[in-house]
Symmetry: C2
Subunit: 243 residues, 2 copies
């Protein structure tokens, strides 16, 4: 930094304009029993008390956006590391009636067992199945299904959830994000189940197997699944490097 720049910095007045609050909202996604699922929190306070919302929080003044997402993943969702990706920023003026809040939405992909652990650790979290009226290229509205039908969502969180599903559907067959929804070792059938749940269509087994193996993302472990009363499938692992 030059001396001029240092002088300029000293005199700069950052309080000239009224500033919005910036929040991060997290779409926690998994595939459970062959269907896409998400974790929501029930709002106890106004606004939208009684509705369900994405876990979220305000970005601190000295905290990067990505760091805020990971902090909320730990604090609000009781998760350790996970695949986290920025989704979109929502900035309608009236999306929060309290005040101007711009929300940077992220989504996190987690294996089903991590969902179970988080639900046990925090009773405030609710598991919902995501229902999408697929197939339809545009990826229409989604619904978070509770025990007694669709849950009412707070703010614009329904839009965020829908966009997250759309993004995931768009990425899953040309990027290795699907592996983040499975445990370390998994069978090709389990991987196919995940893809079918996300895409909402049944897939051809031999073609799926060929495609996955050709991409070079998979590494055979030589191990077999246990507990089946029929021929056990081989367990594969995600190969991190394209080598």
């Amino acid at each position: 930094m030059t001396q001029d720049e240092a002088l300029f910095l000293k005199d700069y007045d950052p309080s000239a304009y009224e500033r919005p609050s910036v929040a991060v909202d997290l779409v926690l996604m998994s595939v459970i029993d062959g269907a896409p699922a998400a974790l929501l929190v029930r709002r106890d306070e106004h606004p939208h008390a009684g509705r369900w919302a994405l876990p979220g929080g305000f970005v601190r003044i000295d905290e990067a956006l990505d760091d805020a997402a990971r902090r909320i993943l730990g604090q609000k969702a009781h998760m350790g590391d996970a695949y986290v990706e920025q989704l979109y920023s929502f900035g309608a003026v009236d999306r929060d009636p309290r005040m101007r809040v711009i929300s940077v939405a992220y989504f996190a992909l987690l294996p089903a067992d991590r969902f179970a652990a988080a639900l046990k650790a925090d009773r405030g979290l609710t598991l919902t199945r995501i229902a999408v009226d697929w197939p339809g290229e545009t990826g229409g509205p989604v619904a978070a299904m509770g025990e007694d039908g669709p849950l009412p969502l707070a703010f614009d969180h329904g839009d965020i959830l829908g966009l997250a599903m759309l993004r995931l559907r768009g990425k899953i067959d040309y990027s290795p994000v699907g592996f983040a929804l499975l445990p370390d070792r998994f069978t090709l059938r389990a991987l196919q189940d995940v893809h079918e749940a996300i895409l909402g269509v049944p897939l051809n087994k031999p073609a799926f197997r060929r495609r996955m193996l050709d991409k070079g993302w998979l590494e055979a472990t030589g191990e077999r699944e246990t507990g089946s009363s029929f021929r056990p499938a081989e367990l594969f692992r995600f190969k991190p490097r394209t080598a």
Copy 2:
């Protein structure tokens, strides 16, 4: 809104936390003479005085993010309507040395003649060719080429420019964004030139023609281009509805 909610709103204190500034930065893109191009502004003030930056500005407290992008498109880039899409939000803590600024980046796609008009209207704008070290699936770094080599970019605007190119490259062959880079009527050769510039690779002419016509995005006008000393190509138009 219930009475409870109204009461709650009244008592809510929005000034509890220090808030970041939120800005919108615009990547104005076109294809000129067979190469991707962008419009930049030269910074006169600190920080990064003398470097080139994306046109941008702060989001007003009562202005939606998308509206801010369109306002800046008009005010700073002297453009009317255009294809505008949100790109990504950049939120590193130290990306602006003055203060905490979170930038929501947008990109706009414009036909080459609109670029020329904007350059005439505002002498502060600079036209740069975008050089990308392609082909390479990951889409390496980009450089904004001036008369005498690469221009130094301010803040993290090089990252933003690179991500914009990557996004455009990823979308162009499965979405109709390419038409936004051309005038109302255009030849298939011009469309192919745009695709080749964005993708950085030569394309097969018959295959390109077939693919485009099969997608149903194009409408033949029956008119022909003029001014060529050889067989004139038919002019096509973008068909808005998939009908």
